[in-house]
Every structure is written in structure tokens, then in C-alpha cells.
């Protein structure tokens, strides 16, 4: 149990700290690397929750797909210009107030709802391999939303192609 908690807090700390670094680094490539570290530690958190399918998909999609494309684009940008510009503007006060309000809201919601979120504990060894279950859920119970989502993605893809063709 101690081991479990230790890994959880380590991963959570790594995720939070590198998420902060994503915002504060001036060099966009460094930001991207910290974002990769954040995503990776979130994937490991999924793994700790025994959601191995989600962890694998997180790595493949976010790191292998999206972050690779991010880096691809960043490489083509003149970085010396980007690093000279200040990454922050003068709306710090407004953002700070908004963040504080959000924090209070979250804290309130968690404090007020503390009794209701008690999920039943799974018995030891009761966790099934969840890849099949996710597949079954997606293609049986949630068939329609799944298809709608894929249609949306298709439309977005066609739209991107049309916009790129027009130049």
C-alpha cells in the first residue's frame, strides 16, 4: 500500500511540476518536452489504476501522434524570434483571480460532496482485462455516440484538406 501511494504521489508531483514548467519555459521545444513528461506520467497513473488500455492509447495518441506533430511544427518555426518574445502578457491579475475562483469552486465542490463520491471498492482480483470491455461498450452500448464522434473527426479531416488545398 505504501508502495502504491508513493508511486502515486511521485507521478502526480512529476505531472504537476512539469505541467508548470510547460507554461513557464521560454523555449517552445522545452515546453513540448515537459508536456510529454506530463502526458507520460498521466499515462503511468492510468496504468496504476489498472486502466492499461487507456494508458497505451494515451501514449500512442498524445505522445506518438499529437506531440510528434507539435514538435514537427515547432521545428519549422524560427525559434530565436519566439524565445525573445515575452511569453506572458499583462492579464496576470485577471487570470490569477479567475484561477482563485476556480480553486475555491473546486475545493467547495469536493468538500461539500465528500460523502457522495465513495465508490465501491473492487474486490481483489476482480478487475478484468478492460480492453475487451471497452470495445464491447463502444460498439454495443455507445455505438451511436461513437459513430457520431468518428463522423465529426472525418468532417474535420475533410475540412482541413479543403482548407489546405485552397491555399
Amino acid at each position: 500500500m505504501i508502495f502504491y501511494q508513493a508511486t502515486f504521489y511521485t507521478l502526480a508531483a512529476v505531472a504537476v511540476v512539469s505541467a508548470l514548467l510547460v507554461v513557464t519555459r521560454r523555449n517552445p521545444v522545452h515546453s513540448a518536452i515537459y508536456l510529454i513528461i506530463t502526458l507520460l506520467s498521466v499515462a503511468l497513473l492510468y496504468l496504476q489504476l489498472q486502466a492499461e488500455f487507456l494508458a497505451a492509447v494515451q501514449i500512442i495518441l498524445y505522445i506518438g501522434g499529437i506531440m510528434v506533430l507539435f514538435l514537427f511544427v515547432i521545428m519549422l518555426v524560427r525559434l530565436d524570434v519566439a524565445t525573445r518574445q515575452a511569453p506572458f502578457n499583462r492579464q496576470g491579475l485577471v487570470a490569477g483571480v479567475a484561477a482563485l475562483v476556480l480553486l475555491v469552486e473546486f475545493a467547495g465542490a469536493i468538500y461539500l460532496g465528500r460523502g457522495t463520491a465513495e465508490l465501491p471498492r473492487a474486490a481483489a482480483g476482480a478487475l478484468q482485462p478492460n480492453t475487451e470491455q471497452i470495445g464491447r461498450m463502444l460498439f454495443q452500448n455507445y455505438m451511436l455516440p461513437f459513430e457520431i464522434a468518428s463522423l465529426l473527426l472525418l468532417v474535420a479531416m475533410v475540412g482541413a484538406v479543403v482548407m489546405a488545398k485552397r491555399r
Partner: protein, 431 residues
Amino acid sequence: MVTLLEAGRPYLIALIRIIVVFLGVSLLVAYLVYAERKILAHLQVRVGPMRVGPHGLLQPIADGLKLLLKEDIIPQGADKAIFWLAPIISLIAAFTAFSLVPFGPNFAITDANVGLLFLIGISSLGILGIILGGWSSNSHYPLLGALRSTAQLVSYEVALGFALVSALLLAGSLSMQKIVEAQAEQGIWFIFLQPVAFFIVFVAAIAETNRNPFDLPEAESELVAGFHTEYSGFRFSLFFLAEYAAMVLVSSIAVTLFLGGWLRPFARVAAFDFLDFVPALVFAAAAAWCLRAVLRLPRGREWRWQRLMLYLLGAGAVLVFLVLLLPVRVDGRLAFPVLGAIQGVFWFMVKVTALLFGFIWFRGTFPRYRFDQLMSLGWRFMIPLAIVNVIFCGLGIVLSKKSDWNLTASLWLATAATLLVAVLLVGRRRV
């Protein structure tokens, strides 16, 4: 103390396996480089490395030492931290993936029920090493090489993924162990049910590992050495190791999914049981080769080290041969426990080696593609073909389940339909 040992036992076994796999893969990679040089040389009617050890057998060690002792240069204006990090990312990604490769029925570091997804995920992490290495060098050739490499990897990963899906449909599992077990149960390797998928996987694997004829990211005539142009010495060797380890890895994935993993050819036919003795025969052949090489060595003192080494190698081969044939009497019948234990790993490695030989053979045979040809091949031919193949494969499986058709027959029908589409695709294409 005893309880501590008991508690630590699973970890200890895992640790030993990790060390064995790590050392084994490192050695394999080192000798893969040697094999490549040797095979390419013979394809070009040369002899290749001959000086360091008999037939240049110690060449990888000499090369490794040379790379370690070379000066480690970091280019001016390079992003030092990332320059330092990139080869490590590549290497870690390549080696971590081996933890899921099932080398034998009871020899894999681990088995996860999303094994294949993890393998794909980890190998896509390797791309990061390439991009970051190319970018952080602060130089034009590496940057262009990294861009090409990324574009190529991202495009061919799509085709690779789709082709793997059709093998997964047949196996009904993502676990690497279960995929091989499914092939054992169905009594047929999936290459015979899904030849098109295997073709796509093999071609995509060559593209994924940046090998000729798809080695544009490292095209010497255009880009010097691609993304690792500015790397030297030890860091370069890390990239080099990662690249060859990735070759072994994609071959292992292809073998697991399509070539029956650790299964012996004709595993269910008793008449072919004599094939179980092939491992021993290989070592006997190795010993015979050593003897022949000793006899062909010229006389003279300057050859004594080579002679000594050949004697040692031969003695080692004979020893392994004898250990393999160590007989034990079980229920009045002879059994060969050692031979049985290494059976799976042996056949797995034989198949991986065959695929690796194919890689090298391709490099010695085909001219390089042009980059636009490469992309158009990927997007206009491989990806549509892979998608069509998955659709037809699924239809074939459903067909055999709904009617009383034989699975093999319906999948062959699906393959024929896929090939028809392939012909249409090729006919329509203007390159």
C-alpha cells in the same frame, strides 16, 4: 532471510530475465552490424571485415571500443540538454519494448493484455529521439533529416497499425503470448491467412526503421547522415544501437504476429518432430565450420591467435552441442530437457534472423526511393490497401462464423479481393 528471499523471488526472476534479454539483444545488435557488413560485402563480391579475429568475428568489439574512445563533440549553439537527451530517449524506447516480446513459451520479461498496443506506443516514443536529436544539433542537415524521418514514420505507422489489426482480428487478443498461442491452436501461422497484411507490415517495418530503400532520412548523397550528422563517439553509438535494436524489434513483432512466434514449423505434425534436433545440428555445423576454417588458415606464427580463437569457438560449439543432447530417461523413454527448454527461443531467433537477413538483402538490392515517391507510396497505396485488407479480413471472419465456411477458405477469398483492390490501386496510380 528465507522469507525475504521468498518475497523477492518474482522480482529476482524478472531481474535475471531483464539482464539476459538486455545482454542478448545488445549482443545480437552488435553482431547484426557485423552480419550486415559481411552480407553486403558478399553481395558485392567483396569479403568484408576479415582482420579482427577469424573472418572479422571480433570486429563489433573493435568498433565499439573505437566509438567509445572517440572524441565527443557537441556542436556550437546546440541545445546541450536536449542534444544529450535525444539518443537516450531513442535507446530506452528501443530496449524497453523488448520487455513485451515473447521469445519463448515461458521466456518473456512480462506479458500485458495490451502488449501490442504498448509496443506500438513505446516504438512511437523512439521518434521523439530522432526529432529532438535533429533539432538540437543546430544544423541544417540533421534538421532536414529529422523532418523527413518524422514524416515517414508518422505516415507508415498508419499502414503498420492497420495491417497489425488484421492479425489481431484472427488472434482475438492484444497480448503477445496469446497471439502466438492462437496460432498454435489454429494450427496455422497468420502469414498464410493474411499474406497481404504481412507484406504491408514488412514494408512498413523497413520504412519505420529508416532502412534502404526507404532510407531517405539518412541519404548520404543528400543529407550527409541525416538526423545524427552532428553526433559523434559514444552518443552516435547510442543512436546506432537504437536503430539496429529497432530493426530487431520490428522483426520480432512481425514474427510474433505472422510467423508463429516461437512455434516450430509443422508444430503439430509428428512426422516433423525430427526438426526438434535442428538446434543441436546448428551447433554441430558451427563446430564443423570452425574446423574447416582452422584447416584453411595459412601456416605461420602470425596466425596463432586466429587459430586459438577458432579452436575455442569450435570447442564452445561442441560443448553446447553436447549439453543440448544431454539425455534423461523419463518413463523408460529418452528425453532431452535442455533441447526442449531452448526450443522456443531457438525458432523465434531463427525467424527473426531470417527477416533481418531480408532487411539486409533489400539494402543490397534496391535503389533508394525519391521522397515524394515514398510519401505517395505510403499514402496512396499502402494505407488504402491496409484499410481494405482489414475490412475484407473482418468480413472473411464473420463469413466463416455465420456460415459453415472454413476460416482459411473465407480468408483466402478475402485476400483475393484485397489483391484485386491492390491491382486497381496500382493501375490508377500516376507516379
